[in-house]
């Protein structure tokens, strides 16, 4: 008799979850500032060693934690983001000024929609955002209803690193409060969506209407019961990633 294997997306450790990420990968990283930033997965990626990475994330990291730690280690070739500046983004600023990484600044709504489009099978779309501004430079502009609109292309990820709250073995995920932000759309847009959650829960524990990211979008789920939080580390005066 043929044996069958149950669907089980759970992975034992963050190290294992990121072990096969290749040099040059485009990595979608969830989070708005520290909220929803998958610091534990980012630190595992730091230890894993992949380089020449293209990072797509709303911000560019703070202190020397998470994304900033990857930049400080010289592992990021390019950042695609809406707002790289913050009170503690000196690692990004220094690397950018030194010409060590490329920056593509994208309006936040366009960034979100480009990621959503990738996950929804839409290769490009027109939007009014950035029409008539320097950020439309080099892009096709077309009028709809008498107003100029800019053509924007979908952003596909090789990998997504996302922070959720609860997850089950099918890969269904919920999110905590406004830590949701880019997580759900990034899971849909990446070939390999890796989600760290605080708790693995039994299949059936999450009510169907409670699931935010359906398991079909998730490839790997890893449990991190006490995730590192960027702002708490910074508040405690910890500016470097604990290794």
């Amino acid at each position: 008799m043929r044996s069958h294997e149950l669907i089980d997306k759970r992975i034992a450790s963050v190290e294992e979850a990121v072990s096969d990420i290749k040099d040059g990968s485009t990595i979608l990283v969830s989070g708005f500032g520290g909220a929803g930033s998958p610091i534990d997965l980012l630190h595992a990626l730091l230890d894993q060693g992949a380089k020449e990475l293209i990072i797509v994330s709303n911000n560019a990291g703070n202190g020397q934690i998470g994304l900033a730690a990857l930049i400080a280690a010289g592992r990021v070739a390019k950042i695609v983001c809406s707002f790289p500046r913050s009170s503690q983004s000196e690692v990004f600023t220094a690397a950018y000024r030194a010409g060590k990484l490329d920056l593509e600044v994208v309006p936040q709504g366009t960034l979100a929609e480009r990621i959503r489009a990738a996950g929804a099978g839409i290769p490009a779309f027109y939007t009014q955002t950035s029409a008539g501004t320097p950020l439309q430079e080099g892009k096709e502009v077309r009028e709809f209803d008498g107003k100029p609109h800019v053509l924007e292309h979908a952003i596909y990820g090789d990998v997504a690193l996302v922070k959720g709250r609860d997850g089950d073995r099918w890969g269904n995920v919920t999110y905590n409060l406004t830590a949701r932000n880019f997580g759900p759309i990034m899971c849909t847009a990446a070939a390999n969506a890796i989600v760290q959650v605080r708790s693995f829960v039994e299949l059936g524990k999450l009510a169907p209407e409670e699931v935010v990211t359906p398991g079909i979008y998730v490839d790997r789920l890893v449990e991190v019961p006490s995730p590192l939080e960027e702002q708490k580390l910074l508040d405690a005066g910890i500016r470097r990633s604990p290794q």
């Binding site: 708005f32 600044v105 709504g109 929609e113 955002t129 501004t133 320097p134 406004t178 880019f182």
Partner: protein, 214 residues
């Protein structure tokens, strides 16, 4: 006659008074955030934060602080009864889809045609960062701009044509400064409200484009 410019609180009150009851409102980062503190008692306004939050309450204090419940400025806030949380593409669909009634933004310059510059001074060494400003600038039904009337060195910020890089074109409806409330209309820029004692000629002298007296 002498005059005293409005302080930040009075400027916020001027804006709060212009927001219709029942409006859905997004407040930009920084100075505009103060508007939330001056909504008149009994006037129900729903605040949206671009990071996927509708029904945002006041800034969190003490035990309420949760770094996973934040506003667009990344400050911990509270959620009001009736609040909802959604992902970023939904949040910007709300913004770009024309569902917000009012957005209050800061400004470097406003042109007489309603062009807004508020994301970059164009300085060669500046780190470019746009956030949600361009999306808000095209998406909300009314764009209110809260800014000082002139730069620190006294240059007008309300001008014939903006010289800083644009955030959005023909976007601004009303400008709120420490001296006046100025509506941008097809007929021109109307000084609807001025601080007590300031003459129209004095206001005009501090403005880089022609105003119309109310």
């Amino acid at each position: 006659m002498s005059w005293t410019p409005w302080n930040n609180e009075q400027m916020a009150i001027n804006i709060a008074n212009d927001i219709p009851d029942g409006s859905y409102v997004n407040l930009g980062i920084g100075r505009p955030e103060a508007v939330a503190n001056h909504i008149p008692e009994g006037k129900e306004i729903v605040f949206q934060a671009e990071n996927g939050f509708l029904g945002m309450g006041p800034v969190a204090t003490g035990n309420e602080i949760d770094y996973e419940l934040i506003n667009a400025g990344k400050k911990p806030v509270t959620a009001l009864p009736g609040a909802s949380i959604f992902h970023h593409a939904d949040s910007f669909a709300m913004i770009r889809g024309g569902h917000l009634d009012v957005c209050v933004l800061g400004g470097f310059q406003v042109g007489r045609n309603g062009d807004l510059a508020n994301w970059s001074t164009g300085a060669p060494d500046a780190i470019p960062a746009v956030g949600g400003a361009m999306d808000l600038g095209v998406g909300a039904k009314s764009i209110f701009v809260l800014m000082t009337h002139t730069t620190k060195s006294g240059e007008p910020k309300i001008v014939d044509e903006i010289t800083y890089p644009a955030t959005a074109v023909k976007a601004v409806r009303t400008v709120y400064t420490e001296l006046a409330v100025i509506d941008i209309t097809p007929e021109g820029l109307i000084a609807r409200l001025m601080v007590d004692g300031l003459t129209f000629e004095e206001l005009q002298a501090k403005t880089g484009t022609k105003l119309i007296a109310q």
